[in-house]
Structures are given as structure tokens and as C-alpha cells.
């Protein structure tokens, strides 16, 4: 199993449909896609639906998680975070998508992601 890191620059040129296809192509090959930035809520749900359409005995679906630095607690920290987000938009954080046939679970924590393999 390999890991493919997909840059924000590559994805930003694609529309939502192509973006999802690109990520799913990687996962259907059995690799993990590490995506710079985060998909929109709508894209995340479309990715789930698309993954479901591809479910078979060999491909039971995906594990998906994201790491976002939105752990800011104080007002100033939140303000800084929102300003950064405003400037670089959906480039904040990383998303990880992998085949659930090989990944048991991705434990999400606001500060870390833990990938547990089967």
C-alpha cells in the first residue's frame, strides 16, 4: 500500500466532481490519499456517496478524516485563525482518505490523526 500526497495546487484546478474522482482513483487502487487542505462539506458528502456507489466485496468503502488547526480557544486565537482561513481558504488542514479494506480506523483528534491498519 502506498501513500499519495495530493497538493492543493493540483486540486484547486479541478471542479468538485473531478476532485472527488481524483481522490477516489487513488483509494480504489488501494493507496492512501493525503490531501493538502480540506474538501467542502458538500464535496465530503459527495465523496461518501461516490464511495458507496463503488462498494463491492473487494472494496467495502473508505476511511476518511481531516486535521484542521481549528483548536483555537481564545477570541484572539479564533480571530487569527479565521483571518488565515479567509486568506488561504480551504487550504487549511489536511485530509486523509484510505481504503477501509486495509485501514481499520482513523482516530480523529483535534490535534492529531492516528491511522490504525488491519
Amino acid at each position: 500500500m502506498g501513500v499519495q500526497v495530493i497538493s492543493y495546487n493540483m486540486l484547486r484546478k479541478l471542479d468538485s466532481k473531478k476532485k472527488i474522482e481524483k481522490i477516489l482513483d487513488v483509494v480504489l487502487k488501494g493507496d492512501i490519499a493525503v490531501v493538502e487542505g480540506r474538501l467542502s462539506p458538500d464535496e465530503e458528502l459527495s465523496l461518501t456517496a461516490k464511495a458507496m456507489q463503488n462498494v463491492s466485496g473487494k472494496f467495502p468503502g473508505i476511511e476518511i478524516a481531516f486535521l484542521d488547526s481549528d483548536g483555537a480557544k481564545s477570541f484572539i486565537e479564533k480571530l487569527k485563525y479565521n483571518l488565515v482561513k479567509l486568506l488561504i481558504k480551504d487550504r487549511v488542514g489536511i485530509s486523509v482518505v484510505g481504503p477501509s479494506k486495509k485501514i481499520k480506523e482513523i482516530k480523529m483528534d483535534p490535534d492529531k490523526l492516528e491511522i490504525l491498519f488491519k
Partner: protein, 240 residues
Amino acid sequence: MKFEYLTKLNLLVFNKTNIFKLKFKYFSMVGFFSKRFFNIFSLFKRKKKIQLGLYGPPNAGKSTLANRIIEDILGKDTEIKFNVSDLEHETRNVQSVEKLEIKKGSKKLDLTLIDTPGIATKIDFEDFVKKGINKNDAKERAREATQGVIDSIKWLDSVDAVIVVLDSTENPYSQVNITLVGNLVAKNKKLIIVANKIDMKKSNVERIHLVFPDYKIVPMSAKTGEGFENLYEAIFEEFY
């Protein structure tokens, strides 16, 4: 909106085009007032119709909650009951019940309750085999469940408001939960969160508050009915 009075004198000095424009304005004005009249009338009626979706991950207790609401409104003898099971993906079709009326003082809500299959990112037939289902049935169940997830996602556009049902014994910080709530917010859908299964020892409602601090959270047990009385209060507060 600008109104103009129509008098015979006014009309005489206008050419045909202007008369047409004024007639159009007159009819617009009638439409304007009749709409306001019906809006005022509906204030007295104080009844609102909503399509209320029950959404959440598998096995959170959506159908159990649906059954509790239906039974509470239609009575214990009602024949309308959804299947519930400890096995995941028991609900594999979107199912609904219409004309469920709840009241609070003079306010009335006419609910169409929509129970949806749990949203998941993976469905492995082997998980069903491990739970004792034979291989062919497990494959069929997995096939239906995947279609159920797709249907749930499609229905999200049709509902007016959503009760997100979460199992309070499970970690709420999951991709499915966050994606679901994120989508509801992006689609401007009203939502409340039910922290279900508070009758269980492992229940931890505080974790749900920490992950979703901006939403109304109703701790309850759909199975035992504990905390159920707060649900209608929250529904009127958030959806009426």
C-alpha cells in the same frame, strides 16, 4: 413598494400603454394585499408544516426515536412501527410518516417524519457474516445498505429541518458526524442534536457538547423515554 391611486381622471390623460401599466400595478396591488391577508390569517392558525429528517450514523437509534415519536402522537396501539435491531444498517430505506401533529399552547406543528438509513463511509458484508448472517444475505444486506446511504444523502435536500441522532456512548468526533452537521449548516437547514442512549453506563453527553458547542443538544433515551419530554420543547424552539 410604490402605490398609485387609479381615478378616471388619471386614466383619461394616459395613453393605452400607460393604462396597461396602471392596470398591471392595480392587479399587483390586489395580489400584494391578498397575500398579506392570508399571512395575517395564518398567524391566527399558527400551524406550520415541516419535513423533519432523522439523520445520523448507523445504530444511533434513529428508528427507535421515530417509533417513540409516532407512538407518543398516534398512541401505543398504532400499527406504524419501524424495524429496530442491534445489528447495524437495519434501516436500509428512507421511510416516512405524514400528518404527525404536535402542539405547544396555540402553536401547532404538522410533521412529516422521515427516518433515514445511517450514513457511513464503509459497509463490509463480512461484518454482517461475523454477526451470524449467512454470506448471501449479508451481501444483499450490504448492497441495500450502500443504496440506503446514497438515498439518505439525496434526501438531505428535501427536508426542512433535521434531528441529528448521535449515540452518546460513542466518540462524537467522527468524520461522518462533522460532515453531516457541516452539510446541514451549508444548506441552511435547521437542526438539533439528540444525544441518545443516556440510559447506558458509557453515555457521555459532555463530549457531544464539546464537539458541537453551537447547537441545541437534547440528552435522552429513545429506548426508555428518559428526557423525551424535552424533545418537543426543543423542536418548537428551533423549528417553529
